[in-house]
């Protein structure tokens, strides 16, 4: 039974990773940059929800919506102020800037809200008891899995059916050509950041509901793990982020259960290194060599 319960925990944790990884993968696909600050947007989302429910007593759904709105705005703001001016800059400069933004968010949050760890009130509580009480699934876990599925389906439909979604795919293939076809590349990139950040807010709330602690650095490690998931699944690929997220969640849970809690990150990162070595493009990605 503990095996099955570990699988369930893994899948639900993985669902959260998958939602975060989607943000990384979409931004990477279109802007060809690693948005290091993505993990910290998660933290901001969680804080918004924390204050909305805890301090102002808003209902959970409204709090989540508020978090989504704030993070979306934040994502667009970050992109416009910090990344847009660097569109033609070398990738090293963009990455360093992204690290700067990540640090800005973390330390800004620390100044505003304090460095101490807060206890997050889950947006849903309780759990579902199965097999005569031998298998428990919390509602948060179920919610995470459901959210992940919904997000997956919506994003797939969005990128394949809608005008904006098609524009995104066009931009990630070839920005120059997309521009010639009359696509506004800048607003498309902006839109991608908006979607990614909205998802980060959702993931933030889910994560803090499942593991109810919150501090300014809450988002950084899950962010890196989710990036690992995105790379694992194949960066730039939406189903890849989904697959990578779930797999990583399972690996992490099993590492915690059967190896050591302290070493679970080491195991996760070892997976990343092995994947990059064996299949640099990830499970579902395609490798594109530099053109000579």
């Amino acid at each position: 039974m503990s095996f099955l319960s570990n699988i369930l925990t893994g899948v639900s944790l993985g669902s959260i990773y998958a939602i975060i990884a989607l943000g990384y993968t979409m931004v990477y696909g279109i802007a060809k940059m690693l948005n290091f600050a993505h993990g910290d947007v998660i933290m901001v989302g969680a804080f918004m929800c924390f204050f909305a429910t805890g301090r102002y007593g808003l209902p959970p759904l409204v709090s989540v919506l508020l978090a989504v709105v704030v993070c979306t705005a934040l994502g667009i703001l970050i992109e416009g102020l910090a990344y847009k001016p660097l569109r033609e800059a070398p990738s090293l400069a963009v990455l360093i800037t992204a690290i700067g933004v990540s640090y800005l968010l973390q330390n800004g949050a620390q100044l505003l809200w304090g460095a101490d760890t807060k206890t997050f009130t889950p947006i849903v509580s309780g759990s579902l008891s199965l097999v005569e009480g031998r298998l428990n699934i919390s509602y948060v876990s179920l919610l995470a899995m459901a959210c992940c599925l919904v997000v997956m389906v919506c994003l797939t439909l969005f990128t394949s059916r809608t005008r904006m979604g098609k524009a995104m795919r066009a931009c990630s293939e070839d920005k120059g050509a997309a521009q010639l076809m009359g696509i506004n590349v800048n607003s498309t990139i902006s839109m991608t950041f908006a979607i990614g950040s909205a998802l980060a807010a959702v993931a933030g709330v889910l994560m803090c509901s499942a593991y109810p602690v919150l501090s300014p650095t809450t988002g950084s490690l899950p962010g890196i793990r989710a990036f690992t998931a995105a790379v694992f699944g194949g960066i730039g690929s939406i189903p890849g982020a989904f697959l990578g997220g779930i797999l990583l969640g399972i690996i992490e849970t099993f590492a915690k259960a059967y190896i050591s809690t302290d070493l679970s990150d080491a195991v996760v990162f070892a997976v990343l290194i092995i994947v990059l070595l064996v299949k640099p493009a990830g499970l579902l990605g395609k490798y594109v060599p530099e053109k000579v």
Partner: protein
């Protein structure tokens, strides 16, 4: 030799000069009793951070690859150096310190090979994320490591009860508590010498054929390959030397405190060093020295002002973004490049009717 070589070596000599002068001035001030105890306690760490900054600059500024796990190599150096120093109880401090630093740099270099061989085939963002991952793995592993010493040698275990030691044995690393009971062997003079050695290694490397190959890789990998540069070999060379120097700095750092925990060498430390390098100017050794020294000492000196202490990292973050946006601003960049044109370049430009601008288009 001829002009080009002498120009770069003059630059190098100025760097030695700055370091030696700073050392002498500080020694003089100390002899006069004009240096506070706070500042005195910062001298060794500042030397370590200068070495860290110069060595990271080798990877980021000269090789052009972003490493986010530089503190991981420092950590390897610190803990292996501490073990080495503790294992050599019967020797006098100076050989103990030298041996510890050597062991630290070897540990750093081994770590560099271990990370470098697999990941240097990757490029850009992947390399950055893997070095970050590596730094975290090291930290993770040291947290569960228990190391003890006795007459039979070194005992390592992950069992929280610690290794079974013979009588007279001592525990060196106690898992989450880190290294304890460390002899404080580090000294300012040792730090000063380490900076000089680092300068010697990095500057001479840059001015050799290997250095040219490394910079060629940075500027254009495909072209470098086309003239016979082995990409992995030279990337690895830069990366491993950088890691070895970080290991040496780590050993000195570790032997400056009676206890050390691995969380001192986390991601934040890696970023701090990156800030030093970026602010000092990518590829500028002198910039790394000056910015590491200033940015390390200033906030410590300003500890009295509460806001600065609190907002220190926030300020760094803002500076980091501002510097990146400024130096990559197209308008400003072309202005800087105009300045860069020497007289000869300007004449050449006039002669060719302003065609110089087109040159960049090919890249």
């Amino acid at each position: 030799m001829k002009r080009t070589l002498s120009k770069t070596s003059i630059n190098g000599f100025i760097n030695y000069g700055i370091v030696i002068a700073a050392f002498l001035i500080l020694q003089l001030l100390m002899a006069q009793g004009m240096i506070s105890n706070t500042l005195k306690s910062l001298l060794v760490p500042v030397c370590c951070y200068i070495v860290m900054a110069i060595s990271l600059n080798l990877t980021v500024g000269i090789l052009g690859e972003l490493s986010l796990g530089h503190a991981g190599f420092m950590s390897l150096g610190a803990f292996s150096g501490i073990v080495a120093a503790m294992a050599m109880q019967e020797f006098s401090p100076v050989p103990r310190l030298i041996a510890a630093i050597l062991v630290g740099s070897i540990a750093g270099a081994l770590g560099g090979v271990l990370v470098g061989v697999p990941v240097l085939r990757l490029q850009g963002d992947y390399l950055a994320i893997v070095t970050l991952a590596f730094g975290e793995i090291i930290r993770n592993i040291i947290v569960v490591l228990y190391v003890g010493l006795d007459q039979k040698g070194i005992h390592i275990t992950t069992n929280s009860a610690g290794p079974a030691l013979e009588e007279g044995g001592i525990m060196v690393i106690k898992g989450p508590m880190g290294a304890v009971g460390v002899p404080k062997l580090a000294s300012f003079t040792a730090g000063f010498v380490l900076i000089l050695i680092t300068l010697f290694v990095v500057q001479n490397l840059v001015n050799s054929r290997a250095g040219r190959a490394i910079m060629a890789l940075r500027d254009n990998r495909i072209a470098a390959e086309s003239v016979g540069i082995h990409v992995t070999k030279y990337k690895l060379m830069a990366f491993v030397i950088s890691a070895a120097l970080a290991g040496a700095a780590g050993a000195l750092f570790g032997l400056n405190y009676s206890s050390t925990v691995s969380s001192k060498f986390g991601f934040n430390t890696s970023i701090l060093i990156l800030v030093f390098v970026v602010l000092g100017g990518l590829g500028s050794i002198r910039g790394s020295i000056i910015s590491a020294a200033l940015l390390y000492i200033l906030p410590e000196m300003l500890r009295g002002f509460e806001f600065i202490t609190k907002a220190r990292m926030l300020i760094y973050a803002v500076i980091l973004i501002a510097v990146m946006l400024t130096i990559n601003n197209p308008a400003l960049k072309s202005l800087l490049e105009e300045r860069d044109l020497s007289l000869g370049g300007l004449l050449g430009k006039l002669k060719n009717g302003g065609r110089a601008k087109k040159g960049g288009a090919g890249q």
